[in-house]
């Protein structure tokens, strides 16, 4: 999700203190080349069935 894009860090803590990691950038890029399109629908090769009767 777009809100997931951010700089992520981790803070590691124990009894004796804490340390913060350097940030890791999460980048989400949109899929721009995706294509799924019906080019044609034909009427040949129809297989018929009668499921309810």
């Amino acid at each position: 999700m777009p809100t997931d894009a951010a700089a992520y860090t981790v803070v590691v803590t124990n009894t004796f203190g804490a340390v913060t990691s350097s940030p890791a950038i999460l980048t989400l890029e949109a899929i721009t080349a995706e294509l799924f399109k019906i080019s044609s629908l034909k009427t040949n090769n129809s297989l018929i069935a009668d499921p309810l009767n």
Partner: protein, 232 residues
């Protein structure tokens, strides 16, 4: 199959609003839920009863639901929901079964919903501007309300009740030849997983950004050995 719990939901039997939370995968041979549950990242509300406004569309790596006012995409298998925008109910053949079923297309980055528009026309409507274009015309589809496509076999599948150009008699299921343009771009990784150092027993999480045709499979490995497979 739609669900709001661990059992299927039948929206036509529900008065008021139906909240969809999960998909239940069905066995392709028996039609019985096979135990695979996909939880949606956010719920989708649709009208119940015989609302006649709900459309469900199969797409490439996704399912798209139109609740009559807005269009939502559910990416598969992650279940990530995204709002594709507003859209009114298009003129179409009436369904007797709560919703009508069609195909979700992506053309040049824009989402389209393909459906049976009349007894002679299968058309697509663009999200969100409502632009309608004809995909194919026929002599007589009768009251065919729903159709879908199967890219692997190059077919379209349909069902209608009365007498059409395909067959005389009640309740016909059938298929015929279809041609589709399907995504072919291979996956790329524009953003590699970042190195991470944590103290033993602390949780660590890696992420990766990808481009490419859906559906995309993920297989994380630890030391060259497969650890788990799911999108992150």
């Amino acid at each position: 199959m739609l669900a709001n719990g661990t059992t299927p939901v039948t929206p036509k039997d529900v008065s008021g609003t139906v909240v969809i939370k999960r998909f239940l995968e069905l066995d392709s041979a028996t039609g019985v839920p096979n135990g695979t549950v996909i939880t949606l990242s956010s719920t989708i509300s649709v009208p119940g009863n015989n609302s006649s406004t709900v459309g469900i569309f199969g797409g490439w790596g996704r399912v798209v639901i139109h609740n009559g006012t807005r269009v939502y995409q559910i990416a598969l298998p992650s279940g990530t929901v995204s709002d594709l925008g507003a859209l009114g109910v298009p003129s179409r053949t009436s369904s007797e079964s709560w919703a009508y079923w069609g195909v979700a297309e992506t053309i040049g980055g824009a989402n389209h919903l393909a459906y049976v528009r009349s007894s002679t026309t299968i058309a697509r409507t663009k999200v969100s501007d409502g632009t309608v274009s004809t995909i194919a015309t026929f002599a007589n589809l009768n009251d065919m309300a729903s159709f879908t496509v199967g890219p692997s076999l190059g077919r379209w599948y349909f069902q209608h009740e009365g007498t059409s150009q395909f067959r005389s008699g009640d309740e016909t299921l059938g298929f015929a030849d279809a041609t589709m343009v399907v995504p072919t771009n291979p996956p790329t990784i524009p953003s590699e997983p970042a190195a991470l150092t944590v103290i033993t027993t602390e949780a660590a999480s890696f992420s990766v950004a990808v481009n490419g045709a859906q559906p995309i499979a993920y297989q994380w490995q630890r030391g060259g050995v497969t650890s788990w497979a799911r999108p992150v």
